[in-house]
Symmetry: C4
Subunit: 497 residues, 4 copies
Amino acid sequence: MPRSYSLDEVSKHDSSSSCWVIIRNKVYDVTEFLPDHPGGTKIILKYAGKDATSAYEPIHPPDALDKNLPPEKHLGELDSAAASAVKEAEQSRKKTKDELRVEAAQQAKPPLSRILSLWDIEDVARKVLSYKAWAYYSSAADEELTHRENIRAFSRIFFHARVMRPVSYCDPSTTILGFKSSIPVFVSGAALARLGHPLGEANITRGAGRTGIIQMVSSNASLSYAQIAEARLAPDQPLFFQLYKRRDDALAEQRVREVVSLGYSAIFLTVDAVVPGNRERDIRAPFELEAQEREAEKVERADQADSPEAPVQDKEEKGETNLLGTAGALIANADLDMTWERTVPWLRSLTKLPIVIKGIQCVEDAVLAAEAGVDGILISNHGGRQLEYSLPSIDVLYRLRKQRPDVFNKLEVYVDGGARRGTDVLKALCLGAKAVGMGRPFLYAQSAYGEDGVVKVVEILQREIVTGMRLLGASRVQDLVPDMVEQVNWQPLEPKL
Amino acid sequence: MPRSYSLDEVSKHDSSSSCWVIIRNKVYDVTEFLPDHPGGTKIILKYAGKDATSAYEPIHPPDALDKNLPPEKHLGELDSAAASAVKEAEQSRKKTKDELRVEAAQQAKPPLSRILSLWDIEDVARKVLSYKAWAYYSSAADEELTHRENIRAFSRIFFHARVMRPVSYCDPSTTILGFKSSIPVFVSGAALARLGHPLGEANITRGAGRTGIIQMVSSNASLSYAQIAEARLAPDQPLFFQLYKRRDDALAEQRVREVVSLGYSAIFLTVDAVVPGNRERDIRAPFELEAQEREAEKVERADQADSPEAPVQDKEEKGETNLLGTAGALIANADLDMTWERTVPWLRSLTKLPIVIKGIQCVEDAVLAAEAGVDGILISNHGGRQLEYSLPSIDVLYRLRKQRPDVFNKLEVYVDGGARRGTDVLKALCLGAKAVGMGRPFLYAQSAYGEDGVVKVVEILQREIVTGMRLLGASRVQDLVPDMVEQVNWQPLEPKL
Amino acid sequence: MPRSYSLDEVSKHDSSSSCWVIIRNKVYDVTEFLPDHPGGTKIILKYAGKDATSAYEPIHPPDALDKNLPPEKHLGELDSAAASAVKEAEQSRKKTKDELRVEAAQQAKPPLSRILSLWDIEDVARKVLSYKAWAYYSSAADEELTHRENIRAFSRIFFHARVMRPVSYCDPSTTILGFKSSIPVFVSGAALARLGHPLGEANITRGAGRTGIIQMVSSNASLSYAQIAEARLAPDQPLFFQLYKRRDDALAEQRVREVVSLGYSAIFLTVDAVVPGNRERDIRAPFELEAQEREAEKVERADQADSPEAPVQDKEEKGETNLLGTAGALIANADLDMTWERTVPWLRSLTKLPIVIKGIQCVEDAVLAAEAGVDGILISNHGGRQLEYSLPSIDVLYRLRKQRPDVFNKLEVYVDGGARRGTDVLKALCLGAKAVGMGRPFLYAQSAYGEDGVVKVVEILQREIVTGMRLLGASRVQDLVPDMVEQVNWQPLEPKL
Amino acid sequence: MPRSYSLDEVSKHDSSSSCWVIIRNKVYDVTEFLPDHPGGTKIILKYAGKDATSAYEPIHPPDALDKNLPPEKHLGELDSAAASAVKEAEQSRKKTKDELRVEAAQQAKPPLSRILSLWDIEDVARKVLSYKAWAYYSSAADEELTHRENIRAFSRIFFHARVMRPVSYCDPSTTILGFKSSIPVFVSGAALARLGHPLGEANITRGAGRTGIIQMVSSNASLSYAQIAEARLAPDQPLFFQLYKRRDDALAEQRVREVVSLGYSAIFLTVDAVVPGNRERDIRAPFELEAQEREAEKVERADQADSPEAPVQDKEEKGETNLLGTAGALIANADLDMTWERTVPWLRSLTKLPIVIKGIQCVEDAVLAAEAGVDGILISNHGGRQLEYSLPSIDVLYRLRKQRPDVFNKLEVYVDGGARRGTDVLKALCLGAKAVGMGRPFLYAQSAYGEDGVVKVVEILQREIVTGMRLLGASRVQDLVPDMVEQVNWQPLEPKL
């Protein structure tokens, strides 16, 4: 039976020479783990000898400690006095300005029945998400230009709508890798759903199950892969797995074998994120929050004239800024040396599941993927979060259709990045995509409205897709053909940017 | 002789099991009609057992009840006490914030003599129209991008003006389907004119008669087709009919036969609106009005400190949002399975009137229309109200001129969407259009200034067209040729968007 | 000896049946002239029986009355009491809000030494000009889009600057129709200079003389052609004449013979203004001024609580709006039927002076002009004031250079519209223009700073042109060749629009 | 032994007939030098008979007086009373509004650890630089359009990122003219670093030394060439010299011989600045500062009601505006007649150092440079500070790559102007550039944070370049090839402009 600890005892291990932390009333010795922490040493030391639960929980799946810390470092539990003290401290903690803002926004958000579009959901999410979560979800590389251009590129594609075609029967369903999907849309891998909502990825799993679409689960989910599999509404609800391959082949293999055994249905090997992109809003989030608090204190002090301001110098960061942000840590330990020759066969040797390459950014690599014999490619620039100035993904699809239409016969082609409307999905399908991935919209929806928000997103898209198909003169997804779209040489005005 | 009813009696029939409504002091039993109401059940139930006149009138032609409700459901009249009570209630009803705004705007609007352009009229209409009417008239699909691009596309077409040509004689008149028109402009079908002005479509009919242009009457006019025919200044004033074909061929035939017998001169079969477009501003209008009133109440309550605010929760909509808006209901029961092979011959079998296909959105369908032997096509995307990202209509005309100039010899080609200036009309004519349709400008004009507003629109256009022809070196519409226009590859700055 | 009149006597002739006006203390009977007044009857009747000097002076040359009114209608002078009364009334007249604004702006304007660019001068002019003058000078047709695009079109032309070429010697001078010009810039005809400055066109004449450039004098100058000729610094200072040909050949001939006899050096026949353009800001100016005054009165009344506001209705215009504005009247009685076959030979028959066609707007007409044997063409769209959507003039020059380089060998080619910088002038010269005309900049300069402002404009341009030539590697205007410019396919950001 | 002087004595020489000035307590007779002063006579006369140290120091290297004034004009020192008085006057001088603003900004600037990008540094510099320094550093010619377009042109180039390539090894280093550089970036010549920081160019020298990049030293450095050479961290730290060739060959030769003897490693002959560009913000800086002070005085006077305002007239500039600004003076006495035939051989005859032509602005001149046998070219438009509408430099590189790829085999090609991100550098390298120069970013960095700021710039760029290379699939600079970039035909939205 494990020992129990007082707060006093834990608090003595508050340095890199001996570093204990409390998570959900359990005590862990992370001293030896410190150098291996993907998010860096510094963030852990901030909680050395203390309770780290609130910082830890939203960004780690529950099995992270089991997977990463040997059993002997699981020291035991807090004694009951300590547990009470921790609980009380959390409850009596003064709320930050950002937390108060979020609470007010939650009160004021519109009922789901008034949400008409994915933009509406994004507007709500912007308000109800914590600053940190919004920064992590919405940010992209550098000036976030590729992120915006992903969206704008769709705007340069217009329709040649066909009339006088029978469309009372209209079926927007399709298959993806042989799995039925109620609409030609899937949830693209997006990490850390619990940053936005306590139930996290499970909201998406259940929402997808209810509406008949397929979820791709990120390697960096904030629930365990098992928890997500368990959240399915039925055992045959398909789940895809987004694999970030680790440098260490053995660890990578272990991860693949885990999801195969859990019943996942396909592997999307992510190749556009071997190193983290430079997401400055994400990196800057802690500074901004600190500035907010400092400002709040100033206002307070102005009311209590006798308490002088602490010198600013004291509050300034002494060491190095964490250039990873919330995002960067997730990509630590990635395999930077993947190749077509080595990595695809390696993965093939581990599983018979379909393999899709996620992160194709040019025609040449689409061709190489087809030659490598994978089952599909996801044209993607990671939502503009990795290489700034990667071509908008719909433009890569457009070039592929023009230059190498043969590739579409060899594998399934998907695209993600920038789609927000049913018409965007239809444009991609006209150009030969089998389905369109969306990431942020589902994160925003589950953050703002939980599982029902996810369902709403699919309902909106289904309505928009069916309306669009009918007005285009298409009654099945196969009727959507390249002649129905035209890329124009001007840029429409965009009210949303 | 029909019975008369007390308010008390009517008020008992206030549910879906027995639903009576009062319209212009008459009592109707609409219980059985509820599921067939194109605008949905909910909106009627809101008035169950009550007077519905003010909601009903502006959006239904007077013959709607006769056409849709069997005689036995016309129960009778209110008794005189009830009629007085209804009248008094209406008169003593507290005006909404929006009604007060409109009244003030009506007072402040400039005299018609100061209106210089169609933009001026739109500015006035924006102010004097009710929120609901403005939302219905001005809104378009999704982000309203195609609506804006319809306008911007004209801006990319410049003139090669010719000089040293005799232009003291300058005649802007033309014919449309053989009917004389004083300028190459017609009123494109636009519904529900009574939302903007009590005299509704008749303002347009009389204005068109006074200025020698032709009105196309919408299937969804808020006056009966007969009332509009009667509003003509002379029996030979031509009227075109915009046909929304209903799914039920018999009902559709009945509608065609009605307008033929009323003396309408051509049928414009609408093919771009088999299902309603997604006009979010229109759908959102009720929420916005509700929010305005809530805000107004709040201000009032602040003055009467003792009356506490009702909990917001109570005010929130419980059921589903009406996703049709004012617009969507009009398109209910449409024929989604029209084809070139079936529908054109069917229509031809009913009437010898010229047939024009309204809603051609690409070159391929213009060719098919010519092959189908119709008399004309109206290149149109329904003012951007149907399929978002349909190509701007002037751009479709441009492509048709470049790719299939032969089509212009086989039928008459018209275009609508985005034209606001005489120069816009001239550009379309240079590209081969026989005439240009305008919808919103006439709705705005009759809303702001009634029949005189309609006349003003034509006068402005005539002046602008004649000035433009002379400065282009054209003395007749035939002098307007493709060499006189050039589509440029940049986007001019537009002060109006 | 002419009679003298009392104010009382004059005031009896205050209607269209007998209409007398006072101008500079002289009394005129304009009853019979009323229908012939290019600016309309209404504006004269406003002053019937009264002193009209302040309205008349800035927009009519002093010889207008002699030319247009038979001697017997020059009734005589005011008696001295009347003259004093008129003078006193003028002096004691309460200044309008706009006049007060202008006076303050005149006080605050920067010294000429601080003016660095033509944009600076325009900024000053915008402030010191009366509302009416600014509206007349700056306005253009419709949305003023061609006016803006004239400027933006220059922005799409970039340089291929050449280095390592000797440029210590650098001569920006050229000849225009054989006349020496210190820089390749001339004053393009621009009317009504006295609206901006009491000395009017003479400011430009003297400024041009001092700096060695050539002025083109408008048919609608606000000084007489003789006064302008007399303002020259030397008898050999060349002046060009911008001819608006009147419908009546005899009157037109009389005008040509007058300027020939006054020693003008060339005729620029204006062909792009046979009818007035639709300059809405100009037309709207009186409404705006009226609204300003009404606003000012309201403020005043608020201070004097007992004087109630006159009903708005009374103040509203009853009759028709003057759709000509200040500009339109100038183009009345123009010849709308000029042709290459008739008009050029007619003009050639009247004079041996060089003939230039002003207002060429496309390549085809440039070719026709060359075939007609004229000495030059001025590619111009009248500063965007006539046909909205006429191609930017520098773009017409660009097309002429690409499509018909032979034309440049047959006549001299000039361009005006949109040039504001020395680099703009150089671009036009690289494309083959012999010289560049500027209108508004000289009007603004003389309005803000009189003759010295005109000199400043030339000094700035000379400095900018020489700097630009040296940085381009050109030491003479002949060194400016097409290879030095490139039209790009993007639109630079423009801080000035 | 030199004489010593009282202030009284010096103050008598306060005119152009006898003009003495005090600099660092030394007295100089500059009477005969007045007409030769590149910055004009007027600015010196402002300090005639007075202490000029604070105006003189930041814009002249310490050896300027030795080089330009004969020894007999170095009259001697102030006596100790005078020196004390000068010091006291400086200390008791009331600070200007601008100085106070700068002081506050210095207090508030963020710690260097929070600087994430070069844009962050520019934001800090904008705040902490004096108005005059900011105007000099940041301004460009005319509307500063080429400066902005330099930046925007990079935005039109997108990547074709390659995946599945080994990038754990990633080396961003290269050589420039055979000299090792840790990243493919060098400091492009930029003058007057002491305007921004008292240690001036030496900050850059030491920062470059610490990070392994190469500095190009401007002829117009505010430290002497020797001081900069001495600031190197090691004798083999390479320095390049940016030569502004003076008209007088002997003086030019003397300058070259000086830097050769000091151990500089290459000569960058500047050919795009034979005359100063028209930098209006720089020229206007004194007016703006004057207006600020006047405004400040006004506020002060409002508090001291009895001191009346001096008439504005008195404060206005009487003479001519200095059209050179801070910048223009630096280019005085330049050789305007350089040629390929004469100047390159002349320079070759003086030194065996590599010769690079700085300021190539078109393909034709790149070809001529290759034919002239120089070692490299720097495609540059002087940061948009010289010829407005010179093509963006990255666009010239793009054209060179397309039209004359052979040139890249004959010499090294560099480019500067507009690069602010690692991705910008990578784009240039893909197009064949050997390295990218940056000027303003280094000036801003040393102004805001001294030497550490310079180091930070390199660290940021190194991180961005390595991240970008890995995400592009490149492990060495040679892997960056033209196929990896595509110039698109639309303009992305730019948050930074």
